[in-house]
């Protein structure tokens, strides 16, 4: 073996370790940071207090509750949702052979946005908003998918077009709901939801998110090498013994479930699925065997970072959709200028 092998290996290992540590550090930071100052030791003892109640004895009740009921579920949600956006973005870019798409291309976010607005207008309870957002996200992609089935030629192009059409349809419907909404009460709620936030996350939001996201990430992890073959196009994938239609259908189903689960908890957060795989390619190259884990870890780290900023930068909360755009746009511009993204 030539001598270039060893340094490359070493570099890969270091990059991998750094990528794995980044979300962990930011997760710990998310527990430490906040308006209400809590020392690291108290945070640690609060975390352990459900198992060892005596450790939490001398900590103020407010601090313990803040760490366990507010900061911990919120950080977990950020971790999972970021990972989900990063992973599904990388998968969609591969199967659409296009580095400029993410899992929203088929209209899931617009559908979820409409569902959430509808629930906020008619029902107003937190869990109903989550269910409506999830269901309408799936409905939008379902419409796009079955709509594209009406046409025989170039299915991928028609599917993309249908996704855009369905997306703008639900966008218009959401605008209609906003127009009808009470401007003092419901309208701000809808607007704030559409900008994305993790401020309302509690433990009750998490079970579906955890189950769907972990199963989905496991699936994307397992098929990650096949994404390379799928990204060459249908004819080549078929010549290499893969059924691209079936594989893509499963990836679309998994990614849509994951995205709908994420949006239904956090509201609309853009850019992560689009930008993170590019950053991943810059660090580990385009091979999805490494790119998929890198995108998942970077996505998790990015949303934790954004949420930490959103919570602490100003006295009030900054919507995540605002920050991801503000941070995401310059990052994407920089990568397009300097990145060797293929």
């Amino acid at each position: 073996m030539p001598s270039t092998e060893a340094p490359t290996r070493l570099k890969q290992t270091i990059t991998g370790l750094a990528l794995a540590l980044l979300p962990v550090i930011l997760f710990i930071l998310a527990l430490l940071l906040g308006r209400y100052p809590i020392g690291p030791l108290d945070v640690g003892r609060s975390l352990l207090s459900p198992i060892f109640p005596q450790l939490g004895a001398d900590i103020p009740d407010v601090a313990r509750r803040l760490v366990l009921r507010v900061r911990l579920p919120r950080a977990l949600a950020a971790l999972l949702i970021g990972a989900s956006y990063g992973g599904t973005g990388a998968a969609f870019q591969a199967i659409f052979k296009n580095p400029l798409v993410d899992s929203n291309i088929l209209g899931v976010t617009s559908g979820a946005g409409f569902g959430a607005a509808l629930a906020l207008l008619l029902l107003q309870s937190q869990w109903q908003v989550q269910i409506f957002a999830f269901a309408f996200g799936l409905l939008a992609v379902g419409l796009a998918f079955f709509g594209s089935r009406l046409y025989k030629s170039s299915p991928l192009l028609v599917l993309t077009l249908m996704g855009i059409l369905v997306g703008s349809l639900f966008g218009s419907l959401t605008a209609l709901l906003k127009y009808m909404a009470d401007p003092l009460d419901t309208l701000p709620a809808i607007t704030f939801w559409l900008l994305g936030s993790l401020s309302a996350v509690t433990w009750s939001n998490l079970p579906t998110l955890v189950i769907i996201t972990l199963l989905g990430l496991a699936f994307l992890w397992l098929i990650r090498w096949r994404l390379n073959v799928l990204s060459l196009g249908d004819a080549e994938a078929r010549a290499l013994g893969i059924n691209p239609t079936r594989a893509k259908l499963w990836i679309i189903i998994a990614s849509t479930l994951m995205t709908a689960a994420a949006v239904s908890v956090s509201g609309v957060i853009g850019w992560i699925g689009l930008v993170i795989p590019h950053a991943g390619r810059l660090l580990v190259g385009p091979n999805h065997k490494r790119l998929m884990p890198a995108s998942i870890l970077l996505g998790a780290a990015f949303l934790l970072l954004i949420d930490n900023i959103a919570r602490t930068l100003l006295p009030g909360e900054i919507p995540l959709g605002v920050l991801t755009g503000l941070v995401g746009v310059p990052v994407l511009a920089f990568l397009l200028r300097h990145g060797r993204t293929g």
Partner: protein
């Protein structure tokens, strides 16, 4: 491994047949070249042979077993396909590209392991690509990319590799490099089916050649038998010449340009035109006078006619000079060269509201009938001129159909027929021995 295709039919749309009754055989270690014009069905045929498309009828057999009976991975372990060159969306390294050849051996959820890597290393080393293995595929040269795809076929361990125009866009040196490697791999027992636009490469490297025209097999067999002047002229629609060495072994195929003949050369019996007239004593000679609209094809014929008459040769047929008014072409006349009678054949459509689909010219059906009658009544003269045969005649069997009948039946000695360049392929497949002449007024002294 032997691949056999029996009576393949394929159509993307029911009414448009792309492949029509194709049968072929590829033995182990054999190289089949598939030649044909753009759109003749080469890529579709390769896709059917690779099992990517299912033929409407007919079958593809691998060692006697139907290709459709294999699942996609089993099939990909036997038959590999290298599609036409394209740039992937992502810049995978050469190593990663070749690794994708291992896909048919890995399960749905599998990733390549050390064993796969050593197979890839071997394939890379075999084609001299080992040093390139960490370079992005998108950044290496076209010749190297083609080699990488061949290496992927080797990593795939298939026994038949189908290549769609592997030498398109490659310089002479890279073409040579690729084809020599293909030939050496064929010596080791790998079979190839290669679609190509180069009859010369087929002459040098093919064991068998299949000539495809509009989805039908025009010729199939060894290169010596198939790559002949009439066959190549018929499928490519141009005059070709096969250059041979002293023993008659074909060396190269060249395309001939239209001859630049001056009508005045008729006076010189040694000139090409004089020789055409001399040969017309034995068998009919057909001259297709061609060129873009307005280059002077009719003028060329007029010159030839007047010189032929001066030389005492008999002339018949039809000439259709334009009628000009205020410097604008407003009509077409038809002149019987035997009697000098003439009629107006067509006039410009003056109706401003006419849509783009309607023809610009309104033909007089009585004049057309008269012209056809004149042509079919005319006997065998020394020179027959037909001006002109166009899309109406070739595509719709309307217009001067008597002209087609006369030429098909060989009822002439020398015929000079005006035809636009775009129709030459159709004319040549109808009359493969026709002589093509550049009817440009530039050639007139």
């Amino acid at each position: 491994m032997q691949l056999q295709a029996n009576h393949l039919h394929f159509a993307y749309l029911p009414e448009k047949t792309v492949l029509d009754d194709i049968s072929l055989l590829i033995d182990p270690g054999e190289t089949l070249y598939i030649l044909g014009r753009n759109g003749s069905g080469k890529t579709t045929l390769l896709s059917c042979l690779a099992g990517l498309l299912e033929p409407a009828s007919g079958e593809v057999l691998l060692d006697g077993a139907s290709l459709q009976s294999f699942d996609p991975a089993e099939r990909a372990r036997r038959v590999g396909l290298i599609p036409q060159m394209h740039t992937p969306a992502f810049g995978y390294t050469v190593n990663e590209m070749v690794m994708m050849g291992r896909a048919p051996y890995l399960g749905w959820l599998g990733s390549p392991n050390h064993e796969d890597q050593s197979i890839v290393d071997e394939a890379l080393a075999q084609l001299g690509l080992f040093e390139l293995r960490d370079r992005p595929y998108t950044e290496i040269s076209g010749g190297e990319q083609q080699l990488v795809l061949i290496a992927r076929g080797l990593a795939q361990k298939c026994q038949l590799l189908l290549m769609d125009e592997p030498t398109a866009h490659l310089d002479l040196s890279n073409q040579h490099r690729i084809l020599e490697i293909v030939s050496q791999l064929a010596d080791r027992g790998l079979s190839f089916a290669i679609s190509s636009h180069s009859p010369n490469n087929a002459l040098s490297y093919a064991d068998r050649v299949l000539l495809l025209a509009s989805g039908k097999v025009t010729a199939y067999g060894n290169p010596m038998e198939t790559l002949t002047e009439p066959m190549l002229s018929a499928i490519y629609g141009i005059r070709t010449e096969v250059l041979t060495n002293g023993d008659g072994k074909p060396l190269a195929v060249i395309s001939q340009r239209p001859m630049a003949l001056e009508p005045t050369a008729l006076r010189d019996p040694q000139s090409p035109l004089g020789q055409i007239f001399a040969r017309s004593q034995q068998e009919p000679q057909l001259i297709l006078v061609t060129g873009l609209s307005g280059v002077g094809k009719t003028t060329w014929c007029t010159q030839l006619i007047s010189l032929a008459r001066k030389a005492g040769l008999s002339v018949n047929g039809l000439l259709s000079p334009s009628i000009f008014k205020d410097g604008r072409k407003v009509g077409i006349e038809v002149v019987d060269l035997h009697s000098s009678d003439h009629r107006q054949l067509a006039s410009l459509r003056e109706d401003e509201t006419a849509s783009m689909q309607t023809p610009r010219w309104v033909f007089d059906s009585d004049a057309m009938a008269w012209a056809n009658q004149t042509l079919s009544d005319s006997g065998k003269a020394d020179l027959t001129v037909i001006d002109e045969l166009g899309p109406l005649e070739f595509a719709q069997s309307k217009g001067l159909t008597a002209g087609l009948v006369k030429l098909d039946s060989g009822d002439y000695r020398v015929a000079a027929v005006v035809i636009r360049s775009a129709l030459l392929p159709q004319a040549l497949s109808r009359w493969p021995n026709a002589i093509i002449v550049n009817g440009s007024a530039k050639n007139l002294s």
